[in-house]
Symmetry: C2
């Protein structure tokens, strides 16, 4: 997905929110914001928003001298998400379909996104999580994903954010774990998951964990390691979490299911949904909407 002009004010807001959450040094806030203004003024709108996010957060890390500014935030939200699990497990105990319950929790967890919302609180998260079992979702897409999970031999699960990974883990526990590789970012970027988070929540004891070699808040294949790119193209099925992965992969021909909350107007318009909607969308559907049904159909299983 390319960037839209509405992404530009959002990049600026995100920068200010981010630097304020990292340091109280107002002189540094101004310096970083002005540097980002110059970089955004050279933005190629054909690039995806995470490509710009990558540039912005490299500037922030470099100028604050902090290689992982969201480290404590990530630890906090991993712990917070884990603290919610007993209550959530009790809530669904024996009720409904385990696959659907897990999938709903995994999408709900996608609210823990400090790239889009620096003012997010634990209360905001709790509110979203509590509603997740009654939110409208595309049940045909859920059924289709469930079937593809059974048929696929290799599944890549592209993680998104810390905290959210705890809900991913619960969902993955309902899946054939031997087929699954959980993918994290190659280096710290905002509150996105890295190997540290995967270990912290014991994801590595459940499934294989691989990093993609990149510090983009999405999956920019040209920026990923050759090993990851090979794995990506060989996977029978890719489960892609969150906006950043959607923004960078929605134009691909691979067999991808996107699970996310549509948290900004640009994404909501691209998908054709309301802000806040829970999305379960197979890549092919995007391509059909784009008016190229044959190509979409030929590349999905």
């Amino acid at each position: 997905m390319k960037s839209f002009i509405d992404c530009i004010p959002c990049f600026i807001d995100q920068t200010l929110g981010s630097v304020r959450s990292i340091t109280d040094d107002t002189v540094l806030h101004e310096k970083i914001l002005k540097k980002v203004l110059r970089v955004v003024s050279d933005l190629d709108m054909g690039d995806s928003p995470p490509a710009m996010g990558q540039k912005i957060h490299r500037i922030i890390r470099e100028m604050t001298g902090n290689a992982d500014p969201y480290q404590s935030n990530k630890e906090r939200y991993n712990r917070f998400a884990e603290s919610l699990m007993p209550m959530l497990k009790k809530k669904i105990d024996g009720r409904g379909d385990a696959f659907e319950n897990g999938l709903r929790m995994a999408i709900a967890g996608n609210i823990i996104d400090f790239g889009k919302n620096h003012a997010l609180t634990e209360d905001d998260v709790l509110k979203v999580i509590n509603q997740c079992f009654s939110v409208l979702i595309d049940m045909d897409a859920v059924a289709s994903l469930k079937e593809e999970v059974l048929c696929a031999k290799t599944i890549l699960y592209l993680g998104d954010n810390a905290g959210e990974i705890v809900f991913d883990r619960f969902f993955i526990e309902q899946l054939p774990v031997e087929k699954i590789t959980y993918v994290v970012r190659g280096r710290p970027i905002i509150n996105d998951v890295t190997k540290v988070d995967a270990e912290e929540v014991n994801m590595n004891q459940l499934v294989r964990v691989a990093d993609n070699g990149s510090d983009a808040p999405g999956t920019i294949l040209s920026d990923c390691s050759p090993g990851f790119v090979e794995r990506f193209h060989q996977a029978d099925l890719i489960i892609s979490k969150g906006q950043g992965n959607y923004e960078t992969l929605s134009g691909m021909d691979n067999n991808i299911y996107f699970l996310l909350q549509a948290k900004c107007p640009v994404i909501a318009r691209d998908i054709g949904c309301e802000i806040g909607a829970y999305i379960v969308r197979k890549n092919a559907i995007s391509r059909i909407i784009e008016g190229n049904p044959k190509q979409g159909a030929a590349n999905t299983k």
Copy 2:
């Protein structure tokens, strides 16, 4: 008042809102926005927000090739404001104090500000105007201004926006008109009043009308004509309407009463009020808050 870092995202939002209201050419939207990003990245934060607004709207006028992009908007809101007057006059007929009623309407009219809010509608304006007689205002400041209006020999009334000028005219009708000069901007800038608007609403038949020689959305004295600057310093009393005039004059030693609605968080924080508050504030008060009571007191009458 200097610019604050929060002004930067606001400048970007304002630019996008403005160019979208002027042209549907999305390529031009991007070009203008990127040019503004570069200019804002060089912003001297010691300059007032209207100094930046002046630069931004010069870029917009130059790049759209439209010397007065808000012309039809200004005409529309002048007519709309005039259409409300019979209803408002009926509402206050024989009730309350004429000075206070006029002042409240003049402040209410300050909502018609397309610099701050490009999505403003006639319904928004009507809602604010309808509430203006019950909104909390500083009655001590109102009484003090009323007294100063009687004592002053020369009064400059610094206008702000089109549409709003109709409510200014009603307020001025309650004042000793022979003392008053109504000041407009020297050239078109956003929906700020110019001589065209003053003539359109017959302000020039009520009082002297002078322009300040500048195209800033405020009163930057160093950018104004020598004639206006002389008049400014000789005036016994200055009634200053709106945020732009407040932002550019709040540090001055002259005898100024600011009448405005606090429409953004930066102004509200500077004044120490809620967003949306009706402000009647004598300059000296600002100076006392700034911790320099002697200087403030020495320069006010």
